[in-house]
């Protein structure tokens, strides 16, 4: 227990980084995932193919490697920099990598949501003269979003847990990195492990219940 008190602030600092990463990745992945799904259902075969290839490649690559690519490829090689302070830059690079990975899953969640929107909705939209973009943004996606709130919640929970892989993208400040550093000096400490686990559960469980509640509340009655 003493270790938890002694290293508590250090670990809490790390955990805060996980939360910040999760927020960044969450917002970007929702946006990017929506763009991807629009590509995947669009009338243009090239965009459909590009979206499909992206999703399949990213989904089948270990996150560790996606983050390494983000750091070495996007940032170091292609020169994408967010800040001249290396730490801050790494944060955004990892956040972006995590978002790139998560958006593939967001896209798939939304796509399966689109599948649940009854045919009649799309037909009705077209018959009153809405274009593809209009029927997508006004009719289909709003309904699709509602029906995939619970699965999206699951994707977000997985993403929150995935922030612990940040080390692979060269960001050594999160709870996992800090926990490893502490374990290197103290050895395995059950209180510390449980403390971090409880902290994660304190975030993931409410997200799960909130999205579950929201899903029931907003369910489209058909």
């Amino acid at each position: 227990m003493d270790e938890l008190i002694q290293y508590g602030p250090f670990l809490a600092e790390g955990f805060l980084e996980n939360i910040k990463l999760a927020l960044v990745a969450g917002v970007i992945s929702l946006i990017f995932g929506t763009v991807l799904v629009s590509m995947r259902v669009s009338p243009t075969p090239v965009l459909r193919a590009a979206g499909t290839i992206y999703v399949n490649v990213v989904r089948n690559t270990p996150l560790t490697l996606v983050l390494a690519f983000s750091a070495l490829g996007l940032s170091d090689t292609l020169g994408l920099t967010f800040s001249t302070v290396p730490r801050v830059n790494s944060f955004w690079v990892v956040g972006l990598g995590l978002a790139a990975y998560t958006s593939a899953f967001v896209c798939e969640a939304l796509r399966s949501g689109i599948n649940t929107v009854p045919l009649g909705q799309a037909e009705a939209a077209r018959s009153i003269g809405l274009t593809f973009m209009q029927s997508l943004t006004l009719i289909i996606l709003p309904q699709a979003f509602r029906s995939v709130i619970a699965p999206l919640g699951s994707v977000m929970i997985a993403m929150i847990k995935n922030t612990t892989v940040a080390t692979a993208g060269g960001y050594l400040a999160d709870a996992a990195a800090n926990m490893k550093e502490v374990f290197d000096t103290t050895g395995a400490s059950i209180p510390i492990f449980l403390g971090i686990v409880l902290a994660f559960m304190a975030v993931t469980l409410p997200v799960g219940y909130f999205t579950g509640w929201l899903a029931r509340r907003l369910a489209v009655v058909r």
Binding site: T44, T61, A68, G73
Partner: protein
Amino acid sequence: MSTTSVLFDAPGPRARVRNGLLTVVSIIAVGAVLYGIYRGFDAKGQWEGRIWEPFIRWETWDVYIIPGLIGTLRAAAVAAVLALVFGAVFGLARLSDHAWIRVPAGLVVEVFRAIPLLLLIFFIFYLLPTVMGGGDYAFIAVVLGLTLYNGSVLAEVVRAGVLSVPKGQSEAAYAVGMRKNQVMRLVLLPQAVTAMMPAIVSQLVVLLKDTALGYIIAYVDLLNTGFKILPAAFFGSLIPAAIVIGVIYVALNMALSAFATWLEKRSRRSRKTAAPPVAPPGPAAVPMGPATPGRTALEGME
């Protein structure tokens, strides 16, 4: 059939022109992105023959990549078998009529699903030596971590699979005088297994992908030998190594995913089961019935 055809009409002459234009524009856009990446890498000399040359030599594969691949597959295979056992045991335990079995099993499953896998692997790696004395625990830590997490997810799959068998099946079985054990063994499970198969295989893809986390505790896997040791031996080959290793992972996982898709089609055709295919329950505490959309969405996350 597909949703795409529902969202837009069969194009008329004007729409066809517009689609053609859009196609051209998007080809240019996609091409520009790819070309930008190509040029960026080129500017940093990442396409130089010298740094790619190691990958056409047999020794590179023999010394680095193949031993790592074996490490990855070994951990994945052992963890897959153990996770299936864990999933079967805890999944059925959660369906038990006795609360003293059902509640603890539910607790175990929920907790292990909520712990970030990497932290779990770290913890086991550091804990085992203090409990069990000396030895090399990297392999066991990876396997145990993967087993506990994926086993818990599989437990949910098993539970959902059994629950997805229509009630009439078990009622009929009880009516002809079967015992509880017989009903489960002879009627429910055989049908549930068929329904669960695709979800199980897609969880195994997750498991295979997650072996890469072993890299962080220096387990000798594909990522370790291919991405850490290999670039140290060949100066400058870090990015080529990342690309080659990435291609291998994607190929492996796509093969497994293709197998999952094939199984799903097959089980959908099959008339042996009365249960609809089961959705993978996702990585955390979101209750999802078989009717919830998004099963493909969660394949492979984390």
